[in-house]
Each structure stands twice: as structure tokens, then as C-alpha cells.
Symmetry: C2
Subunit: 347 residues, 2 copies
């Protein structure tokens, strides 16, 4: 008997502020071709291909992004789309997806707005995570930390579970720079990238133990839901009542069965323009251009234009974005402030 397929659960939310003005509320990050020709969403779907042992995906998204999701899903046969009537964070989204599957199925929760350079490494980690999930573990991908990032949660590695992975000794919230440096030097910490493998029955049982209200309301929203072709609409009244909480807080930090699978796969959450510059193919001077640009005496400059030519002279470590009626010019260090710009906030 062959190994049962892994069910990808692809989460599509995103407010479109950190990569503003290219990413906008009406067309946020997952649906843009930020690295290469595919959008991040398309690449996420492609990574979970049937040839690699995956079942058709379940996509969880909101009404605002449904059009983009369905246009970019293409002909992924058997795909389902759960249409959330409003955003209720990841615990609710994953619960809804779990309720569409069987108790014995294994689900792999994947954000749709991350870049993963090495698909084979991702698929290998997914298979290990699925094996652990079938043994009853709630498994997080532990992304190999490559810098003292303060924007991510960390997983502290505990004792080994065979040769598949490790127990999670501790979940650490976003650290300050000093602690992030300690974690990196220590080597026993990995980034929590929000990629999880669960056996459906185990996940629902743990959710029921730690957040019974979320589970009950998710069940009610699903039971009163409506099928519409490949779409499933949980009912708004019940769904609205669900507490908005991340799966990390609701389940992972509370369960006694948290495990991790190390994953070194060229991962980036493309969390801001600086991260995008890092993920992009670049020329000998470190520059990366999308659109038309003339760069003179520039190093490590990212230009992204949807039309106008961009001429840049003498800049280093700078990002220039032209999108419709907005132009952004920022240092790489300033990229973390983009989401707070008036243009990004008042969309």
C-alpha cells in the first residue's frame, strides 16, 4: 500500500502593507510575481504537486481575494476553496479546513506568501513532517535560521524523535536583537515559519482540549455552510463568533505533542522590500530590476516599476518602487517602516 497523500492547506490572507505600493489591499503579496515569473501563491500550489505525493489543495481565503485565488489556481483538479466571510486568523482557518477532511488524513498548512527556493527540500521536509504527524505529533517546520531576525518566532529544538525530527522544547516569541543573536550562535533554535503538519483527528482533538469554543464555533460554521462548486462558504453568523487567534497561540504553544522538522530550503517570508531584494536574482553589482530602468553607479538597488522608466544615479542599498499613483524610495533599513507610511495605512 502506498503512503497516503498529504493534504495541502494553503492560507491566503494578507493586508498588503509591507510591500506597498506594489502590494495593495486589493491585490496583496501572494498574488504578485515577486520572485520569478510565478506569483507566490502559484509557486505554493506548484510545490505541493500530486507527483510529489500531495492531494489536491484546500485554499482558505477571503471574499476579497477569491477572484485572484481562482484565477491563479488554474486547473488544479480537485482543489477546494474555503471562502471565509471575514478574517479570523489561522486557528479558525485551519479548523475549517480540517473539518473538510477525514480524521486520518494528514494536512500540511502552508502560508501562500512565502518564497521557498528549494522545492525538493520542502517536499522532503513535508514527508518527514507527515510521518511524525501520523505518529500523533503536531509538527512545525523549523526553518534554518541564517540571521538574527527579530521579526520571527523561534522554536527551540528538544530531543530527537528517531531520525525524522525533534520535540519542540519551547516556543519563543519574537526576540530582541541580543537574544536573536544568542539563538543564532546557539544553533539549537529555528525560525517558526508557520508551516505545520497535522493528522486531522489529532489537531481537532488538541484544538478541542485547548480552545473548545473555537472548535465548537468552527464546527457550527461548517455545519451551516454552503457548497458552491469547488467553493465552500462557512456561514457568516457562526464564523463571525470565532475568536481571532493564531494556531501558534491556540494550539502549538499548549500541546504536549509539538514537534519540529528542520528545513533548510531557501525560505523567505518576503516580509519587506529588503527581504525581496535578498530573494531576487541580481546582477554583478547586486542590483535587481523589474520593469525599465537605467542604473548608473548603483549597488544593491532594487527597482520595481509597473510602467515608467526609473533612472537611478549613485545609490547604494536603496529600493525604488513605482506602482500606479505611488512612488516609494527607501533605504534597505527603512524598508521595515513601509507598512506605516500613510499610503500603506490608508488604502
Amino acid at each position: 500500500m502506498s503512503t497516503p497523500a498529504i493534504h495541502p492547506v494553503i492560507l491566503c490572507g494578507g493586508s498588503g502593507t509591507r510591500l506597498w505600493p506594489r502590494s495593495r489591499a486589493i491585490k496583496p503579496k501572494p498574488f504578485l510575481p515577486l520572485v520569478g515569473d510565478s506569483t507566490l501563491f502559484e509557486a505554493t500550489v506548484a510545490r505541493c504537486a500530486s507527483e510529489a505525493g500531495f492531494a489536491p489543495p484546500i485554499v482558505v481565503t477571503g471574499k476579497a481575494h477569491l477572484e485572484h485565488v481562482e484565477a491563479q489556481l488554474g486547473n488544479a483538479s480537485g482543489a477546494q476553496v474555503i471562502v471565509e466571510p471575514m478574517a479570523r486568523n489561522t486557528a479558525a482557518a485551519i479548523a475549517l479546513a480540517a473539518l473538510r477532511l477525514g480524521e486520518e488524513d494528514v494536512m500540511l498548512v502552508c502560508p501562500s506568501d512565502h518564497h521557498i527556493a528549494d522545492s525538493a527540500a520542502f517536499q522532503s521536509a513535508a514527508r518527514k513532517a507527515a510521518q511524525l504527524a501520523r505518529q500523533g505529533w503536531l509538527v512545525a517546520f523549523g526553518i534554518a535560521a541564517t540571521a538574527p531576525e527579530t521579526g520571527f518566532g523561534y522554536l527551540q529544538r528538544g530531543e530527537a524523535i528517531g531520525d525524522l525530527g525533534f520535540k519542540v522544547a519551547r516556543f519563543v516569541e519574537k526576540p530582541d536583537l541580543a537574544r536573536a543573536r544568542q539563538f543564532l550562535a546557539d544553533g539549537g533554535y529555528a525560525w517558526n515559519g508557520g508551516i505545520f503538519a497535522f493528522r486531522v483527528g489529532t489537531f481537532l482533538a488538541e484544538l478541542g482540549t485547548h480552545r473548545p469554543a473555537i472548535l465548537a464555533q468552527a464546527r457550527a460554521a461548517a455545519a451551516a455552510g454552503r457548497e458552491e462548486g469547488q467553493r465552500f462558504h462557512p456561514r457568516a453568523a457562526e464564523f463571525a463568533a470565532i475568536e481571532s487567534e493564531s494556531v501558534d497561540y491556540a494550539v502549538m504553544e499548549n500541546t504536549a505533542h509539538a514537534a519540529m522538522v528542520p528545513a533548510a530550503m531557501g525560505w523567505s517570508d518576503i516580509g519587506n522590500w529588503d527581504a525581496l531584494l535578498e530573494a531576487r536574482a541580481r546582477d554583478d553589482a547586486g542590483n535587481s530590476v523589474t520593469g525599465t530602468a537605467d542604473l548608473v553607479q548603483c549597488r544593491n538597488v532594487l527597482v520595481e516599476s509597473d510602467g515608467p522608466r526609473v533612472s537611478v544615479i549613485g545609490m547604494e542599498d536603496v529600493i525604488v518602487v513605482v506602482d500606479g499613483n505611488e512612488v516609494l524610495v527607501t533605504t534597505r533599513a527603512g524598508a521595515q517602516l513601509v507598512g506605516k507610511l500613510p499610503g500603506a495605512v490608508n488604502q
Copy 2:
């Protein structure tokens, strides 16, 4: 008898490359409101007002800019416009204007793309220059040098001519930085700003002595010319034959009667975006914005946008220009390279 009026001769050429993309070949620098609400051309006309002792202006321009000139001349009554069939540099342009005036008239040649902050100082210098011109001197304004500029020619001050000005000891072409620093330290050098006062008869006689062909061809082009309301069209066949040479080379560097009048009047040729930033009103952080912009942690940033909002984070000594289908981002030092950008060259 009151002092005869000074006849302003306003030269309107310009290729529109150094302040590209705001300044374009089809609408170059003189016709843009770069400093304050008036265009540089409008401000040039306004500085030579009749109340300050000036006759109506003679504007010398090309067909390409005629529409802008006439639109911006407004109701300057008595103004004349000489329409050059093609560009032939300043010796020809000034000769054509001289031939529209009487031998005893004094003309004040003014480029139309300079900014002069202190109109009263300009007018005072103009009156002194006119007095010297009436005595037979060919008078250049000697702009008080405030930096070791390598982009300007310099005038070396010679012996005093009463209390009106000085003989020019020597014309110095654009120096290298070391010499420019010497000139600045020496104190006896001023910038040649291309502003000249001539008695018409003297100018034509000197031109005839040093460049008889230019004078003869200018006379022929004028004699065969055509009046059209306030416009005068020199005939193309004769005008085309005139050698293209600057008045500096053709006359000033050859005459034995070159004089200078010192002028400290907040002058700038607005020769590039950096010079424009210097000339502009700025906020406490040294920033200057035209259009809509959000500046975060910025110092000495110039933003000029014809529409799109420009958001800038963490930049210092940087210029951002948005104009139609072109966006320019440059360091202040890089501003001198703008004219060589593909966008500026291939207009």
C-alpha cells in the same frame, strides 16, 4: 533728461537635459516654475520691469519654444520676439537683437534660465553696467563666487573703472577643482554668468572687428527678415550660414574693452537638480517638496512630482523627480550626470 532705458535682450534656448525629466526638450527649464510660482522666464521678464528703468524686452528664441514664450510674456507691452529658424549660439542671437535697436541704445543680455534671488541687486548692477557700456565698455556681470565651481567660466578682476566696476584682466575657461579653489581663495575672480551690457554700436563694431562674417550674415538674415506682429523672423537661408559661436568666444575674449560689474544677487544657473535644491525654500530638515510626498527620516531631500505621491524613507542628500513616464532618483553628487542618462539624451 532722464537716463535712457536699458533694453533687455532675453535669450531663450536650452535643450532640457540637465533638469530632465522635469525639463524636456519640448518644455525646457526657462518655462517651468522651478523656484517659487513664476517660471524662470517670467521671473527674468519681471526683473527687467519698466519701473526699474528698462525698455520692453527683446526675446530671442526658437520656433520650438515660441508658444511658451508668448504665453508667458503676458501683456509686456512693446515686447519683441526674434524667432530663430535654428540655434546658432549667443553671438548670432545677440547680433540679431542689436540690429533691432539703435546705435546709442544700451542692451542688457540676460539668459532666461537663471534664478536671481535679489532683484534689487540685479537692477543696481544693471544700472552700473549700463553706465560703463555707455562709456564704451563691453560689460559682463561678475557673479560673486560662493563655491569652487568647475562648471562656470571665471572673470579675473583687473583695475577699477571709477566706482562702477573693473576691467576684466582675463577670461578663464571652466577650471579644474584645484584651480577653482585657488580662484575662490584669491577673491579676485568672479563667475561669468552670461549677463552682459553693451552699447549697441560698440557691440556691433567689436563683432565686426573680431567676427566680420558673423556680423555680415546676421545683417543679411535681418535685412531679408519678415515682421509678423511682435515677431521678427530672420530669413533661414542667411541665418543658417552664421557660424555657431558664443559671444564669449566671438567678442568678449577678444575685445580690449571688456569690463565687469560685481554682482552679489543670490544667483544660480540652476544647472542641475542639486543647484535647484540649493535655490529652493526648504523645511527645517532641509527638504523641499513640490507635489505630494511623505518624508520619513529624511534630510536634504528634494521631491518634485507632477502627480503621483512620493514616499521616501531614510534618505539624505537625494533627489526624486516624477514626471509623466519617467522617474529619476539620484544622489546630489550624481545630479551632474543626469544630462547623460539615456532618457535625457534620447528625447
